[in-house]
Amino acid sequence: MVKKTVTVTNEQGLHMRPAGVLAKAVKDHPDCEVILYANGKTIKAKAPMQIMAAGMKKGCEVEIVCEGADEQAVLDEIAGMFEAGFGE
């Protein structure tokens, strides 16, 4: 299991589009489980509705936890997406 804490950089927080982009990326790695901890909630990163429902706004700290195949690579990819503001 590997983990890393990142900060939401998107102006409007993790709204629909970034949530979709994130869930899609996580789904590409079916053998690695990705869980996010934010706002006191536990969020499955492959579920777009859970991501949106967590209401992660700009500046919100998010702990990403990956477990499974290629966990370090998956963690780096997801953390990188947060840092890049999901391409916004």
Partner: protein, 544 residues
């Protein structure tokens, strides 16, 4: 005539006949079933059908509203695969032994409720997305036909609320406008209407729906959010001319956006915009200005109750530079004086403020204020293409002092290991006759001149521009002013500097040719005039 008011989401005017959007029937009954596996299988195939339909809508949206906006439907497809959502449906079928339709409807309500209760207007609006995908599944389970309109020809589509998929499914060529009784301006329908360039009014109210019939005449004003049902002749005439003016403006925008500022004989000029706050940058980009020729930094001082900190200023400058993404941004240092009073500066009342203690005179006598602003500017310079411009210059020694202070500020940043750009251009305003007359001496010291025609005119003609009684003596085209500009342009070019005009005269298209002939390199005008000036430039021929 009856008037309804909601929120306008795309500024345009439409006149036409009303067509009411009939919703798909998604009434759900709770039915007890025994074969839960069969119900789950029905959900599965209804979901597959829904995904196929969404794929088709996605492709239509891709063509009509672009990839960014079409993405909603891609996400809708992903929502259909959302684990929690699906587990909830299966659980309800399993534990309550009920039909698939009912299980989907209950799940939809629960998820929509979850979004509605969030403390964020954007997230609350997501409840509509959950309902949209769920209703699609239910319709596929029921086998009911998709919703739509019944009238022929062009129409003003009216509905209680429209789901994003319903909005996109409509034949765009037939839709004149959208009016919904409910919904928020954060809804995707609003976003899509904006991107389809269709006027829309959201939240016109229940009374509106109760009063309309298919075929009624109506006018939709997307600027004001007004809807006029059965308009009278006067209203019709007023809005028709509003529509015409708007279409003319958009036509100009369409025609000239992305085009070069080039004369018929091939002379190019930069057309930049003047702004007074970071909030105006949207207008700069919308009107396709090539940069910002005058960013008045006074707002930072006027909006504050004490001197704005270096950090506050840095944040504002950085935002401006980043928003302009590498295009030139010329920020003018503090230009306040007795006519633009700021309490905490504690400036004395003056007999003659235009000739008084103001602008660079304050900066050079209170260097701590000046240094704070310069530090913020140089720090921000790494985020874009910055030019710094100094107002109210009258002498060589002022410019020498300014350049020395800039050097000190840069040296200080360097010692502290703080990054700044080496390519920041420094320029001065030519707004006093003195500066124009000694422009041969000033030009070698700077990278650019920017002519402030308002002050230059009032100082040259000894005419207070605030006094309406002497307006007839204040000839803005006075030969003396034009000669000073021409002289400055010559001296700038002889010394490798460029010259722009940022006063009101820059937008006066009767002078555009005169300025081009003087060799002016840049005209900076308020954002709404950018395209008007571009149009003028493109019709000028300097070879004749």
């Amino acid at each position: 005539m009856v008037k309804f008011t909601g929120k306008g989401v795309y500024g345009a005017v439409a006149i036409g006949k009303i067509s009411i959007f009939k919703k798909q029937d998604v009434t759900v009954k709770r039915v007890h079933i025994n074969d839960t596996d069969a119900e789950k299988a029905r959900v599965k195939s209804a979901k597959e059908a829904s995904t196929e339909q969404l794929q088709a809508i996605y492709e239509k949206a891709l063509k009509e509203v672009g990839e960014t906006n079409a993405q909603i439907f891609e996400i809708h497809m992903m929502m259909l695969e959302d684990e929690d959502y699906n587990e909830s449906i299966e659980n309800i079928i399993e534990t309550q032994k009920v039909n698939a339709e009912y299980a989907v409807a209950v799940t939809a309500d629960n998820f929509a409720e979850m979004f509605s209760s969030m403390d964020d207007a954007y997230m609350q609006a997501r409840a509509a997305d959950v309902k949209d995908i769920s209703n699609r599944i239910i319709a596929n389970l029921n086998g009911t036909a998709a919703g739509g309109t019944d009238t022929e020809g062009k129409m003003i589509v009216c509905a209680d609320d429209l789901a994003p998929s319903e909005t996109v499914s409509l034949d765009k060529d037939r839709v004149l406008a959208f009016v919904t009784a409910h919904g928020s301006s954060n809804s995707h329908t609003a976003i899509l209407a904006r991107n389809m360039n269709i006027p829309a009014v959201i939240g016109a109210g229940d009374d509106f729906l109760a009063r309309i019939n298919d075929g009624d005449e109506a006018i939709v004003d997307g600027f004001t959010g007004e809807v006029f049902l059965n308009p009278d002749d006067a209203t019709k005439e007023r809005l028709l001319s509003k529509q015409k003016a708007d279409e003319e403006k958009k036509r100009l925008l369409q025609k000239l956006k992305g085009k070069e500022n080039i004369t018929l004989d091939g002379t190019k000029i930069n057309i930049y915009a003047n702004i007074g706050s970071v909030d105006n940058i949207g207008a700069v980009l919308l009107n396709d200005a090539g940069g910002i020729g005058l960013f008045r930094s006074e707002f930072l001082y006027l909006e504050n109750s004490s001197y704005p900190t270096e950090e506050q200023q840095f944040t504002a400058y950085k935002r401006a530079l980043e928003s302009m993404a590498g295009k030139k941004v010329i920020i003018r240092t503090l230009d306040i004086g007795a006519d633009k009073q700021v309490d905490y500066f504690e400036l004395k009342k003056e007999e003659n403020p235009a000739l008084g203690y103001r602008a660079i005179r304050i900066c050079l006598t209170r260097p701590e204020i000046f240094r704070t602003q310069l530090r913020a500017l140089f720090r921000a310079s790494v985020y874009g293409n910055l030019g710094i411009m100094f107002p109210m210059i009258t002498s060589v020694s002022e410019v020498e002092r300014i350049i020395a202070i800039c050097g000190e500020v840069r040296a200080e940043l360097k010692t502290q290991g703080i990054a700044y750009s080496e390519s920041v251009e420094l320029g001065i305003m030519i707004e006093t006759p003195a500066a124009a007359i000694i422009s041969d001496k000033l030009a070698p010291m700077v990278d650019f001149f920017s002519v402030g025609t308002n002050d230059l005119t009032q100082y040259t003609l000894a005419c207070d521009r605030q006094n309406p009684d002497i307006e007839q003596f204040c000839d803005t085209h006075h030969e003396a002013v034009l000669r000073l500009i021409e002289m400055s342009a010559e001296n700038a070019h002889k010394n490798g500097a460029w010259i722009g005009i940022c006063g009101e005269l820059a937008a006066d298209t009767t002078l555009t040719e005169t300025f081009l002939r003087m060799g002016i390199d840049e005209l900076s005008v308020s954002p709404t005039f950018v395209l008007k000036v571009r149009d003028a430039v493109r019709n000028i021929d300097l070879s004749t």
